[in-house]
Amino acid sequence: MSKTLTVEGDIATVDAIARLTSQGSVTAPSLVVPSGMSKIDKIIIAASAEGLADGSAVFYIRLGGNAVKRGEQTIMASAAGRIAVQTGSDAAPQITSLFILHNADIEVTPSDTLTISAEMAGSDLGTGRAVATLVFA
């Protein structure tokens, strides 16, 4: 049996931890590992930025909190690059596909709490956005 936990949020600036604590219409979803679950079996992440500034950057998440048995784990998710368009042109969107990590096998303690964060590192490409789903087993 599996259980999922999804969180999302803004990445306001580069090189700064952005806690993912909301879930769309649910402003404060539970970050407690479901009862009976002992590991994170899969991780699904999408992260990108609006592309308002030039440069290149990578995006990753941090999994921490007292539920993660072996301490904080960091997982790369995506990369983005952008240069300004010619005057009078429109910029392309910065759309990414999902990164799905199967068999993640991260040990967690049921009924303890996770912290899930995202970061943009490298150039500041403007406000970023991240969503992450943890699949427990």
Partner: protein, 135 residues
């Protein structure tokens, strides 16, 4: 077996030059990346690499793993490639890739991660690399 995830990121700004990845976003000095206690192998890596689109040329990207944490010696792994025809309007986002490996490691010893741009100088390539240890 449980897995442990350790990540570093950084930029390569010169062609055919090793650039060590030593930061992690908000952590400007996370310290050496040591093989965790009890780790039995490097079970895989997650890689994301992309150019800044600022030069009309193309490149390929490599990740080099070196150091005493790898008793079998260094490893070199393809990380991506790309290019743009003009130095305006380039724009791309790519999802990271998982690459399964089975490389012996020495717990408590350091692994150094380098990103490298090859081909022609595109200006800047950002690299993010996660090492996945089985422990």
């Amino acid at each position: 077996m449980p897995r442990l995830y350790r990540t570093r990121e950084g930029e390569a700004t010169a062609v055919d030059t090793k650039s060590q990845l030593i930061t992690l976003g908000s952590e400007t000095a996370p310290g050496p990346l040591l093989v965790p206690a009890g780790a039995t192998e490097l079970a895989g890596i997650i890689v994301a690499a992309i150019m800044n689109m600022a030069a009309a040329t193309s490149y390929s990207a490599l990740v080099r793993l070196e150091g005493p944490g790898l008793p079998g010696g260094p490893e070199v792994i393809a990380a991506g490639a790309g290019g743009v025809p003009v130095a305006t309007g380039g724009n791309a986002v790519i999802a990271a890739e998982f690459i399964a490996l089975n490389i012996p490691v020495t717990p408590g010893n350091e692994i150094l991660i380098f990103g490298e741009m090859a081909g022609t100088d595109v200006g800047q390539v950002s690299f993010g690399v996660t090492l996945i240890f089985e422990a």
